[in-house]
Structure formats: C-alpha cells, structure tokens
Symmetry: D2
Amino acid sequence: MAKRKICTIVASRANYGRVKSLLESVQKHPDLELQLIVGASGLLYRFGQVVNVIERDGFPVNARVYSIVEGENLTTMAKSTGLAIQELATLFENLRPDVVVTVADRFETMGTAVAASYMNICLAHTQGGEVSGSIDESVRHAISKLAHLHFPANQEAADILVRMGEDPARIFVTGCPAIDLAARAPKEIGPEFFARYGGVGPAMDLNRPYLVVLQHPVTTEFGQGIDQINQTLAAVNQAGMQTVWLWPNVDAGSDDISKGLRMFRERNPEAPIHFYRNFTPEDYVTLIANCACLVGNSSSAIREGSFLGTPAVNIGSRQTGRTRGPNVADAGYTAQGIAEAIRAQVAHGPYPSASIYGDGRAGERMAQVLATAEVSIQKQFFLRG
Amino acid sequence: MAKRKICTIVASRANYGRVKSLLESVQKHPDLELQLIVGASGLLYRFGQVVNVIERDGFPVNARVYSIVEGENLTTMAKSTGLAIQELATLFENLRPDVVVTVADRFETMGTAVAASYMNICLAHTQGGEVSGSIDESVRHAISKLAHLHFPANQEAADILVRMGEDPARIFVTGCPAIDLAARAPKEIGPEFFARYGGVGPAMDLNRPYLVVLQHPVTTEFGQGIDQINQTLAAVNQAGMQTVWLWPNVDAGSDDISKGLRMFRERNPEAPIHFYRNFTPEDYVTLIANCACLVGNSSSAIREGSFLGTPAVNIGSRQTGRTRGPNVADAGYTAQGIAEAIRAQVAHGPYPSASIYGDGRAGERMAQVLATAEVSIQKQFFLRG
Amino acid sequence: MAKRKICTIVASRANYGRVKSLLESVQKHPDLELQLIVGASGLLYRFGQVVNVIERDGFPVNARVYSIVEGENLTTMAKSTGLAIQELATLFENLRPDVVVTVADRFETMGTAVAASYMNICLAHTQGGEVSGSIDESVRHAISKLAHLHFPANQEAADILVRMGEDPARIFVTGCPAIDLAARAPKEIGPEFFARYGGVGPAMDLNRPYLVVLQHPVTTEFGQGIDQINQTLAAVNQAGMQTVWLWPNVDAGSDDISKGLRMFRERNPEAPIHFYRNFTPEDYVTLIANCACLVGNSSSAIREGSFLGTPAVNIGSRQTGRTRGPNVADAGYTAQGIAEAIRAQVAHGPYPSASIYGDGRAGERMAQVLATAEVSIQKQFFLRG
Amino acid sequence: MAKRKICTIVASRANYGRVKSLLESVQKHPDLELQLIVGASGLLYRFGQVVNVIERDGFPVNARVYSIVEGENLTTMAKSTGLAIQELATLFENLRPDVVVTVADRFETMGTAVAASYMNICLAHTQGGEVSGSIDESVRHAISKLAHLHFPANQEAADILVRMGEDPARIFVTGCPAIDLAARAPKEIGPEFFARYGGVGPAMDLNRPYLVVLQHPVTTEFGQGIDQINQTLAAVNQAGMQTVWLWPNVDAGSDDISKGLRMFRERNPEAPIHFYRNFTPEDYVTLIANCACLVGNSSSAIREGSFLGTPAVNIGSRQTGRTRGPNVADAGYTAQGIAEAIRAQVAHGPYPSASIYGDGRAGERMAQVLATAEVSIQKQFFLRG
C-alpha cells in the first residue's frame, strides 16, 4: 500500500519549533511519507532563515517558495497571504499530498489552509480552539472551520472546537509539539552556547541571570508599535540585566518594532542587550528554560513557559484569553508596569511545571492519527444531540 | 462629518441579486458612500458579464479586477482566491473603505474576507450561520470567524453564529436582500421578456408552463460532474416541457457541467431547452416566480423559492442542511428520481409563501446598521454567561 | 560529470509542435537531462489540453502550472504574463535548470524569458529574428534581447539578430523544429484519421479536397475580431468545400473569434465545417500537408506550409513581414478577397517545397549546441567591427 | 478635446530623480493630465520611501502598489516583476492612460513595459539605447523593443535604437530629465543640509571635502556582493575622509551589500561614515555636485556626474559600455585599486561640464512630444533603406 504523503509548510522560525517533533514522527512512521515546503519568512535572512536549520536537522526540503510581499504593513500581510495561496496551490498540484498539516494562526497558515481546503486535500490543524488577541484570534478560528482534522493542545481547546461546530470524531487532543521539545530541554546552558549565533551587541555570560525578550507587533493595534516597544525598551533598560532580545516576526508593524530597536541601539550602544535573528528550536527552548524572566508577548511564555515554569511578563493584548499556568504575570504598555512585573518575576524565580499544553508526546500521537484517520472532505456543521 | 465608505465586491451574477437592494439602500443613505468593485466571473462573458447589468442599473463601478485563473478545477479555484486577495488588497489600499461587505460563501467572498480582515477594515457578512454542502459550507463559517458584523437571514442562522463564538452585539437579523427583490417580483411574464437575452436554443412561450434548471458543480464531489448533469439532462428531457437552462457558475467542475450540456445540445438539437448565460436579478426572480418547477441545486430554490412558493426539486448534496420551507423536494443524482420529483412538483403547483429568509426589507436594515454600528476590529471568542 | 538540465515550457498546442523534435533530441542526448513544464493554455480543455498528448508521447511532465487569467482580453493577457513569471520563478528555483528553452513570441514565452533571464539562467530562444505583426512582433524581439542563445530558423533571421546587437557567437542557424515534423509527414491521410478527435460538426471524407482554417486574434487590432472572423466565415461558406476549422488560441480577442464561430454554427447547422480543439502535432502537419488550401493567419501556413508546398491564404496583418515562400497568397479582411484567394489557391494546387525554415534536422542541431555551448550570463550590445 | 492621460510609475528613489522634471512639465502642459503610480521600493521604508518626497513635492499619487517580493535575490527579482505586471494591469485597466512612461531599465520598469505593451497602451521609454552591464543591459534593450516612443539621452543612444530596428520617426533625442535637476543644482551646501535626514553615523561638515558612495549589487555577479563591498569599504576607510554612504537599491544581492555595511559599522563605530536611506532628488544632486569624489557603480556618476564635472570612481562591471565624459575613472573590485583611484580623483578636483546626457530641458521636450505624437500601436522592425 502506498504511504500517505503528509505535507507540512514551515513558514517561520516559530512555526518550526511548533511542528518539529511531528516532522520527526512522520519521518519515522512506516506508513507515512514526509513532504516539506519552506516558505515565507522561513527563507529570509532578516528573520533567521530557519530553512538552514531545517536542512541541518536532516529534513529534505521538497520546495522553497518566496511569498512575503515586502512592506510589513496590513496591506502587504494580506497580499502575502494571497501570494502564498497561489504558489501553494501549484506546489500541491505537483506534490499531490494526502494530508496537509498547518500550524496555528499566522497568515502563511491561512494561505496553506485556503489552498488545501479548496483543493479537497485533507487539512490537519494544530493549536485550534485556543483563544488570543491580534488578528491571530480570527484567523485561528477561521482555519479551524476549514480543517478536517484537529490537534488541539488540551481539552479546553477541544471543547471550543466542538462548540464551533466541529465534529468530535475529527478532534484529537494530542498536546502541542512545542512541549515535546520543552520536555527535552537541558537545565543548563553550556559556555559555547552562542558560538553558533552572531547577533549584535555585547558578549554575555548566560550562567548569570539574564532576561529574554520577544515582542511581536499586534496587527490589530497597527501604528502603535513604536510606542509599545519603547515602553518595553525603557523597562528592560531600567532592569539593567543582561538580555537576549529576538527581532520580531514578519507581521504587519514589524518594521515599527525594528525601527524602535535600532534607534535604541544607536542611542544606547553600552546597554547589555544582545540582539538575535534566530535560534534553533532546541536552543530557544533551552534559553527560556534557563532565563530569569521571559518578557514580551510571545505565546511561548504561556505555552512552553507553563511547562518549563519560566517566570514570564506578558505585555499587552496579544495573548488575551489564552489558557495559561501560574508562571505568567501581565503588564500593560507602560515602562513602569513592565519594570515592576519583571522585578517581581525575577525575584520569584522558577514556577512548578504545568502540563496544560501537553506532556511531551504530541508529535507521535499526531503521526499516528495521520496514518490511520479516515475523514470525509465534506464538512458539515456539527449540532450537538 | 465624512460619510462612511461602504465597499462591496460583486463577483458573479448570483452575488449581485443577493446584494442589489443593499446597494440601493447604501446609495440612498445620507451618511453612507458606496464603493463598488466588480471582479471574478462578474466580468466574464462566459458567465454573463453582470458588470453590464450593474452599470445599466446606475451603480458606478469604482474598479474592475480580473481574478479568475482559468481551469475550473480545484487548483485554479484556490489560485483564483489567492489572486483575488492580492488584487483586492491593492484596491482597498487605494479606496480606503470604512466597511467592506462580502456576500455568502464563494471563493471570491473568501478572498474579500481575508483581504479586509487582515487590513483592519470592518468586514460585514451576509448569509452567515447558514448550513449547506460543498466547500461553501466550510468557507461560509470561516468567513464568519473573520467578520466583524453579521447580517444573518434568520434567527436560526443567528443562533449558529452565537454558538460559533460570535458576539451577539455584532449580529443583526436582517433577512436576505435576495428576498427584497423577490418581494417585488411581478406575478406574470410579459411576451417581450426574452427580447433582451440571446441564449441558444428554440423559442419559448413563457405563458405556458416551463421549467427552470440551474445546476452548479459540487466542489467536494469534483470529478463526478458529468455523471451528475447527465442524470438531470435525462430527467428534464423525459419531462418534455419547455425549459430555461442557465449555464453553471465558475466553481471547480464547471467545465464538466458545461461539457455535458454542450454534448447534449449536439445530440438533441430539437429538445425544447433554451440556454442562457445571465438574467438581470429582477428577471431571474420573475422567471422563477412564474415557473412550473425550479430544478437543480441552486440555493435560490430554497431562499427566494420559499418566499415565492416556487415548486422546486433540489438535487444532491449541495444544499444539505440549509433551512427550508415546504416548497422543496429532494432528489438524488438519478434521472429516475429527478424525473419523478419534477412530475410531482409540477402537479402540485405553487406553495404558500414562507418568510424564513426575510420579509423584503433586508437592504434598508443593513444600511442602517452600516451607518451606525461601532465595532472594534479586535475580535474575541464569545463565551456565553 | 552532471548532465546539463534543459528545461522547456510548453504553453500551448502550437508551442508543442514547434519544439517536439527538440524534446526528443534532448531526451536522447547522453549529456542532457530534460525538464518539462506544461502551463498556460496547454493545460486547458478549451484549448485542447496538449498536456495529454505530451504524456502519451512519453515525455514526463515535471510540473504543471495554471497561469491563464480568464478574460481573453488585453488586460488578462498582461496579467497572465505576470502570473506566469511568478510561478515559473518558483519552479526554476526548485528545478534548478542549466538552460531554459523558450519558443517564439507568445505571452507565456515572454513570462519564461523574464523569469529565466532575471534568475541568471541561460535562456535559449527559437524563432528569434523573424518579423511579423500583432504584439508578437514586439515580444519576439524583446525576448531576443533577453536570450543568451539564439536558434533562428534561417540566415535572414540571424542577420536581424546581429543587427539588433546580438553576438554572432551566440547565434546558431538551426532551422525550426516545426520543419522536423513536416519532413516526416505522410503524404496521405488514412480513413481512421478522425477517430481520435471528437470535435463538432458533420463527418468528412479527407480523401476528397478540404480546407483547413485557423484564424487567431490580432491583439493589436483588439475589438475588430468579430468583423474579421465573419469575413472569413462568409468566404469559406461561399467556397462550399468541406472544412476542418480549429478554434483560436488564447490571445486577447479569442473570445470574439469564438463567439463569431459559435453564432455561425447556430445559424448554419448544415455547413460542411467541422470544428476541432486540437490535433497532435503530427496529425496537424499531416492535415495541412494534404489539404487543398490552408486559410487564416497562422504562421504554420508560412513556416510548415513553405516546406510542404501547401497552398495558403494569409489573411490580414498578423504575418506581415515574415519571410515566406511562393505558397502564400495574401488577402485583406474582406469575404470577397478571401474567397477569390481561396479559389485561386485551390485551383493552383501544391507548390514545390522550399526549405526556408529548415531542412528537418533542427532539433538535433539545437540539442548539440545546448550540450556544448559555453556562454556568459552577462550580455553586452554587440557593435560590429 | 480630452487631455491625454500620461501615466508614470515611480518605483524607487533613483527613478524619481530621473523623471521628476518630466512630471513637472506634464503637470503644467495644457493638453496633458498626469497620472502617478508609486510602487515597488518607492513605498518601502528600507529604501527611503520616496513616495513621501513625491507628495511633499505636490504630485498627487493616483495609486500605490506594493510589488516587491522579499528576498533580494534572483528569484524574488523575477517574482517581483511578475507581481508588478499583474497589479499594474489592473491599475491601467481602471486608470485608462493614453500613454505610459517608463524609466530606464529596472525590473519594475520591465513590469510596466510588459503590462502597457500587452494592453495596447502607447509606451514611452527613457534611457533607451544606452549600454551597460548587469541584467539592466538586457532589460533596457528588451523594453526598447516593446516601446512605441523613445526618449534617448543623446544621439549615440538614438543610433543604437535605430540599429535595433526602431523606427526613427518614433525616436526623440531629448536628453535625460536627470540633467534637468543637475542644471539647477546649487554650487554649495548650506549648514542645515542634513537636518531633514536622520541616517546613522557621526555628524559631518559638508563644507569640508567629503566622499559620496553608492554601490549597488550587480545581479549578473550575484553571490559576489559581500566581497565586492568589502573592497570598497576598505578603500574608503583607508581614504579617511568624511563620507556620505547610501544604502543600495533593491536589486538581487542587496542583502549582501547591506550585510557588509552593517558588519563594517559594528566593527568600526568610529569611522567617519554616515549612512542614509534617501535624499530628495535635488538634495542628492546637490550632494554629488559638491563632493570631492563620487565612488561606486551608480550611473549617476556618469550621467549627472558628466554634467556636474564630479570626479568619480566607477567600480566593476555595472556601467561597462556606457557613454561617459572625462570625469570618470575606473577601478576593479580591489581595495587597492579603488583607493588609488579615489586619491587621484580627489587630487584632480572638478572636471569641466559635459552635456552628453542633456542640456537641462529634457522634461519639457518630452512633454511636448507626449502631447503631440501620433503613433501606431503596431510596431514593425525597421529595416534601413
């Protein structure tokens, strides 16, 4: 019997960490064949070119597709989605996958979902049923309504999916593959850690306490990015700790955030902040497993953070409503509030681990479902009994 | 105070009838300015070029956009969606609408919804919360999850929207604008009726009983279109009544349907069937208001048909689950079953009118909401108390 | 040593006949590997789906790409070119060809040329240096200015290329591959000839004299197509001979031509004209090798026609300036003029063969150049000594 | 009589300076109406957002179009061209210009040329007939073969156009609009000069000698950009003079150049080099009119430079073959050679003005031709008598 062809699209550095253990499980599964497309910011130097990490990890890349229309604003985010659909349709036409797996809620994810569902290809979706802010909130649920197989991280998310009219027979609570990597993270960082990464800024000693900051634009608050990042910069600068700062993702408003960071660098060349474009997923999770506090608005503070017990300061509205553990403290867009929250979290130290996003075996569970599930392409709104 | 700019995209002949009364109401409203984009099959000769009807009706067209990638298969349906997003994003960038109105569940509608929602433009959606078959089912609900204002046709649909997590404060049960036209439909057809339309086939006398047939491809059953249409052709041929037949829409599989129709014409030049590409929305509704039976899988059999009391034979899965009145009889994809249902419906004659899709005032209600509603661009899954 | 990867794009039925012998030679050459992309109208049912012929001929297709934006007007011709470039760039990125071969002067050819030349891929071009009417005239020369290897059909064309500033060291007078097929064409047609082709219209006996008509739109005369085709229809109808008529290509204005043909069919169901969407290249050349007269504005009347000695009536401006043999008589867009020219050419009968477009060995010569040529990607306007 | 609509596309900061005086002349001409589209890197912050300068200069922008696919490599350059064609076709469809003016030889220019020529819109082209290196060389000539009106800068270029088969009746030697701005450039720089521009790097006194450096990627040497820019950086660093450095344009390889510049900045924070994204065209020409030496591979060293008498060091192959005055000295890609050439040119001081690219009245001449020329859309290769 022919192996089922499972096609995954990795579109950014964050995507990759949230699907890597699934790629491994698909590659190992006797009844599955992995097809891998890398596109969008996953190919771009400015965003860390995760494609290089993927190839070093031993995953052959079936196709590369440039799909980001430059501008980093709302218009180009829409256009990039459109371009992704066009291109992915051609790639699916030629690769002929049996199932397409799409991750979470980004615009490249939307592009994948639209292309696959219109082409009658079974669409599997991770992170469905989670709640958040930004345009991601709308997009995630829209993708769930297009998807044929759901891999929510927890029961709470699964319940939301059922409420939205998804058939329980298509919903599999697997946990999130991001936790699979978190479960393997070493509890200390070797001295050679940063040898592989250039970045810009002063050297650091990661055996002393350090912050990690990752703040993305909030697309529904487009235009307020510079003010927002300046508050965070002021708070972090005030904290005076050595800091690992990642450049933001490619969402609309990214330019504003980057501009704020570059201006800060010009004016504060002595600040103990080192800026990076990318880490391998393993190094990223190691980094946040060992930091004094994770600051910003990345979902990793809530997702991997809850499992790792990482003290986190979550800023603004981007994660509003997302299920979380005790490790997260909220702050608004004010330097004062952020600084106080950082101080409190650093003082608190690590939290106990919570398994609300999985137990470390999500990838293998998903692969097993992909190998065996039989679903109809035709969906129908599911009305409870 | 500046008028609110309300931008609508008409992408097909069917779209137009389902939004025309809203266009009128927006045009008349003192606080609203109408922006009109015509695209997709709405520009194409093969699909009746509804753009010409629109201009004759006195609606200035702000922009035309060709967005159909030819092929009429699943791949090109996806690609056309992608192209539409790209192009609409540029048009929205330049027209700067305050609200974008998108109709129902077609792929052009999806393109509109993605472009507008990513661009932080308030998205209003009609027909949300209805249930059906084909890919339309998935797409309609996905669009609801992107939309900021909902104009469902009835309470049943509104309830589905709430269940899906939409905020009741954003849901307005207005009825469907298609019923606004149905409510004005004359109860007889003048002899000059077809002077305006060429079409191909023998002449007809519409004061004698006639059938209307409109059967679109079902995208989730792609590849079965020729068999399906051949069954319908055989049944209609067997009925032996004069018949008005509309070419199918541009969905994947349209080519198969058209091929079946053309082969039938070559082989049965004497059959009393006249084929048309398009009618004005008013003429279409007049036509079905006065026919002996409406056959096929168009939602107009259920929507306008329920209001008009038109006997209808609904074939196959395309309308599965859609709320309906007593005027509809179902048939599978068999000539025998279709023929029997036609016979029974013709014998039955007109049904009493049912207002389940509106009372004829949808357009004005929607315009009033568009003029006054204040909604946040940021959505959040609405969890009941 | 790795084989050189030679990538060809077949974008229409006409394209294929003009490159098929080259594909054979590349496939057989020990130092070359063939990559084949089929796109544009080559995938479309309405234009004969030459992709099926290609696969039956034993050429594996590496990728399919839908790139025609529907509309058949000037705007969509431009858009289709843009879409083709976008898609081909992704395919070239993934196929990594050493040389891309592009044929003649169509908009898909332009798309290929732009994509390859911007990507520093050696671009080989056939039919460069020929002169004609329509937009093809501009496009053909523009492509020559992008190409790195030229395969003109004859010395006259080669001289034009040198005058245009192309380096003589990059120009190889090989003849046209279309003549390779013409040289193999049987001098009679078997009775089973049309079994493979459906088409519409009455049966024919090809052992009795017949006409072949092929009239494409002239894009630079867009809007005049219906008038033009009506003149040809009147003339052919007046001739009263059995006629094989091919539907036009996908150029802007194709819709007008098709509309004219369909209206004629509705009004003249008895006319002895049979309409076809496609023939294999071999069958097409056999068909024109044995016809009484080839009518229309296809370059095949001049190209293959000169070799085969086929009496031809060339209508209008589309072939203005193209080097020709004695077999061609010109006519303007008037039924009268066309009818007289047909009468004279039928009366004259076959002409002697002229080798002005090649001797039947173009494909093998081209393959040999492709295997051995060393050219720099950097071009420079060549100024004669 | 309706005014002729003249549509120009400005796609980059360099574009604008080379067409600004024409925009002024069109705007003032009683028989012409100006339509302005700004797209490509002309909208992007990273490339100086020349759209803001354009609007401050009083030119209303009819449409904005994002058309750069991010990646800055050969593949995305091709894709950006394709995207530009698609989008411009829609804009032309809606703006309905009588003539489209396209500037020089960039990929956005190619996109404009393809869209306009396929749409039977008269295409006017500046800088045709010039010779250079990079892909620009091929593209410039290809565009000439698509254009209907030529505005070469000098007789030498006009002669090349005739040789290429262009009709002398369509060729107008007008000079280059870039010289119109150069002719107005003040011969000194006020102290407030840089108040309007931020940039990064130390402050400068432009009344003391300074260098200007502008080095773009050479697309046909893609992959060698870092080595090339490092040689220039070493040479300029060695010169030890205060330096105004512009970031490179968006061509393939731009990323490499930028990376080289950023790494240099990190390592040499004290170097007296100030980096800028953009100047107004007037400020740019003032800047090079008053510098000690213009270094790099911009055509402005040859074009405006010849008129201004600016000592210039031209590096590498990008300008190979371009007609030049005595102000230019060549250097290869070696720090040593560049440093020596800079030294010699600074020592030499200003050269006499040469009018080989125009006399300062190009814009008004072009506008007059645009207002009065009658050309056929149908081109034909012009064979000399």
